[in-house]
Amino acid sequence: MNWFKVMTLTAALAANTAFAEVAVIVHPSNAATLDQAEITRLFTGRGATFNNGNKATPLNLSESAAARADFDSKVLGKSSSQMKAYWSKLVFTGKGTPPKELNSDADMKAAVAADANAIGYIDAAAVDATVKVVAKF
């Protein structure tokens, strides 16, 4: 029974989010250009600067936010559990710290709008003029 529920829930979630688009956002003053490889580098702790040399502070959505799973799968090419396993290895060996997590698109927008170094992502439908979109997936 539980088994069935998990499978159904997963199918439902997958179906639900199939059409949502994720917008990767930065501060409006940030002139850096970013492709998928560079975004992946920043969100996997393999790089800490934008391509213009400025410091980058990646911000993640928590797993309760809808855009998180989309971002992990479409941009990073991993499931959220794979990302958790990846970060566990780095965290418990002192080799890295995962990005700070925010709970909602609104929190993410506010944090990115307030920090010239920040890079985050939200559901594309939630984008407004307080942030700048650098890529959509």
């Binding site: 580098r41 797993e63 990846y86 566990s88 418990f92 002192g94």
Partner: protein
Amino acid sequence: MKKLLLATVVAAICSYPVQAEVDISGFASVMGGKLTSGSGVALFGLEPTFLANYPTVGVYEEDWTFKPDSKFGLQMTAELTEGLTATAQLVGRGADDFDAGFEWAYLSYTLNEHWTLQAGKKRLPLYYYSDFFDVSYAYLWIRPPADNYTWQIFNYTGVNAQFNYQLSDWSLSGNIYTGREDDAENKLLSEFFGTEPVREIWKDIVGGVLSLNRDWLDLRLTYMTYQNERYSGGQRVFWDGEDTRRGNFAGLSVNIDYNNWLLLSEVNRLALDGDDYDTYLLSAGYRIQQFTPYVSYADFDSDGEKHNTTSVGVRWDFHNSAAFKFQFDDVNDKGIGSNQVAGDSKAITMGVDLVF
């Protein structure tokens, strides 16, 4: 030296809660298993045994036990000032009756975007999985194959410099370390391979790791050299008339994660006083949504000791932070006479790994 450093790190973490954020994270595994068959070793009077973890002497026998692979860890990290952090990791293992101790305690200073310096007690990063051996959630199997992860020393106290560079599409990372470990009563040597308390010292340790990552490919090179000194029942041990012996360890690991296929491999050699101890492992898995079935083969070969393990299992990521695993292991001990370790055995293990 070790105690002082540990005390400093712990004190640093505890005295800073007002100014600094202390991050607490952790991991846990609850694993149970039993033998389905086993030969034991009549020569040693050893009952049927599956030695799942050499360094901590984690053994499965004919009755169900939860001890060998169950463990918990708590990690506390305090950011002291810009770039300086103190980290301590408390680990309790079923194989040690959950008697928790500080497994890691170190200070870390970020020099710049590429280099970080660390000093304190850490795990020795010999094999691919050595430094996150206890964090089972981070890898595929229930445990890294026992035939490879056999060495009695797994921590060191010293200094470590780690780096991180980007070279076009390749990520280059790694570390250089030096230090020593003085284990007053080594568990593997004292309890499993011997009857007298053995003090095992690895000194003048110098090693390095280089990792190259690109998309789905992960390569790792490792090298370490050390001097071995040993006291058995309080008496100094001599090898061919010498009171120390040198060990040189080298290894290569190639891992591929492509289109849901996982291929994991390691090949390592320890040259100890002219003898070669060769190990390798080969694992393949295929990810189907939350399920990853896998097969694995691991081998240990030396002049005397020879054994291998064939394993099949499945990892089920049933939750965002937890995975259920089931594994069957078939150990073939090919050692003759006193070169046997624990005899042949077949065993099942299952349980849950999680991180928080």
